[in-house]
Symmetry: C2
Subunit: 342 residues, 2 copies
């Protein structure tokens, strides 16, 4: 097996820097569009054969060093009892956002094998079809990011409802976070049991918090989740979007890898993270719109700046954009491999 990704997660020697791309299975790929044209987005997530098919596409098309389960970060939220809708060009909408104690207490403690069996089935198909070519990553939204969707009922500009609960009723917010955290632990444990060889927690919206709020209201929960999941024996990646203000705290959650966004210089991030944790990232997704030779230069810059990290998994600093030319994504993967070969 190409285990460069897993080795980099653990800070072991690698032959070259492994690379995968957040949202690598998705709208920018014509192969994905073809599958997606036949079913709606949620059906695709919930149909193991199709979800496995699109998960494999970037392994074939781009030559990345890891596959990631095709799913949505809100799948466990739907299992918790909030009906989920995707409207074209509008993003996710959840019915009945949770803003009081009664609603918090109604949230379901999920049993992944019963409530979201399609996720575990997709993982099993993928492990079989990958035949050890590259490792398979499972994932979940991190507790805070899921909390924002649960409270806001979708995306948000200022996350006022979330912060209102955090500030006006910290006990209720804490109880909500605990329930979500418990579910994230069950959900990722089931993914690992089904065959996921690493898991990533996406804290996509945690960057809206002040560092002190992160420390008080979020950090204890994510830390406890990582601690329990750590016993499952697979690497844990914690992706902290817009991390520059909270990295010194985030690095302490106990994950094997910290995923970072593009708005911080990689050399500064590595310096702050230190030698106990590997890093993942962090090219601006828009850099894939550069001319090909400049993509190579930009990749070289990130590789160079990450060279003193314990381990480095190359990635974008956020999900690949739907408008991205596939050839440019492939050029990035090739450049990372060529430039980093030891």
């Amino acid at each position: 097996m190409n285990d460069q990704f897993l080795r980099a997660c653990r800070g072991e020697e690698v032959d070259y820097t492994p690379v995968w791309i957040m949202r690598q299975a998705g709208r920018y790929l014509p192969e994905y569009q073809k599958v997606r044209s036949k079913v709606d987005f949620l059906t695709l997530c919930k149909t193991p054969d199709l979800a496995a098919e699109v998960s494999l596409q970037p392994v074939d098309v781009l030559g990345v060093d890891a596959a990631i389960l095709f799913s949505d970060i809100l799948i466990p939220v739907e299992a918790m009892g909030l009906k989920l809708h995707f409207y074209e060009k509008k993003g996710p909408v959840l019915d009945n956002p949770v803003r009081d104690r009664k609603s918090v207490e109604k949230l379901v403690e999920i049993e992944p094998e019963e409530d979201v069996p399609f996720v575990m089935d997709t993982i099993k198909i993928l492990r079989k079809e990958l035949e050890g070519r590259v490792p398979l990553i499972g994932f979940s939204g991190a507790p805070f990011t899921l909390a924002t969707y649960i409270i806001e009922g979708g995306g948000s500009k200022n996350y006022l409802n979330t912060k209102r609960m955090m500030y006006q009723n910290p006990q209720l917010f804490n109880d909500l976070m605990q329930r979500i955290t418990q579910n994230v632990i069950s959900y990722l444990s089931a993914q690992i049991d089904a065959g996921a060889q690493a898991v990533q927690l996406f804290d996509s919206w945690v960057g809206i918090l002040s560092p002190v709020d992160y420390e008080n209201h979020v950090f204890p929960h994510i830390k406890s989740a990582v601690k329990i999941l750590g016993n499952k024996g697979v690497p844990i990646i914690y992706f902290v979007n817009n991390c520059a203000g909270m990295l010194d705290m985030a690095k302490k959650v106990g994950s094997d890898v910290i995923g970072i966004d593009w708005r911080i210089d990689m050399s500064r991030a590595v310096k702050r993270i230190g030698k106990k944790v590997s890093v993942q990232g962090n090219l601006d997704p828009c850099a894939l719109f550069m001319p090909r030779e400049r993509i190579r230069e930009a990749a070289a810059d990130v590789l160079n700046k990450a060279s003193s990290a314990r381990g480095h998994i190359f990635n974008l600093g956020h999900g690949i954009l739907p408008e991205t030319p596939v050839d440019n994504a492939r050029a990035l993967v090739d450049a990372v491999h060529e430039l980093s070969r030891r």
Copy 2:
């Protein structure tokens, strides 16, 4: 005159920490709503008597230590030749976004006294009506933030058009930035000549850039603007939204004050900024939804963390939200004054 604000800008001794609030004249105030109910937003910006009236409201209602001109950051962009519209709940829209050389070259070199006389008239009325009670701040969007609107034609999620131009045609992007910068210099110079006693450059969207892109494509322009404006003899505040990744560069633009957002810890920011520049900020705007006694604690925390700065002007880390209870904003101003009195 209450000159605490100007003294803090310059790093001089103060009797207490001065405070003003970004967007302090605006939708959260019933007094503002009353004026606004009679005219649309752009008419309000362009009618000196009314613009002056709403600029004065927060000085009376909240007791802040500075007034700021009521206007919009896109007023100079309209003068550059892009028709500006505000639709309710949608934000600004500019006709004919600028994405090629022909459009860049069509951009008008503005003569503020001729093209936006209402701004200078508002400033003159304000200086008269303030009668020296508190200093008056003028402002403009910073060049990069204006460039994003000019290129995108409004707000944006990923700023792909902006980065596309920056990456695919850096010379064109540079020429655009130069034209905008020249106009920002003329616009703020005219405001100072009309009576503005300090000016703030709002770089609201600069935080979408990687530090290396900021350094290469933005920093030289803002630095040259600040250098020229510095000769006008009034303090210059550079507000860098989502600054945590680029603060070490941003502090070198030469401004008297760096305004920072809430996503960085104030003590860390002060350490990085050093002793040559004052700081402004940085309470989370959502903190004004806390119970009153916790607002006081949160203010105390920011004051304490900023205590080793050269000078500190208390502010929110971004604009006050329309939903904010006025009493809470007033409680913040009172708390800052009481807690910081020497």
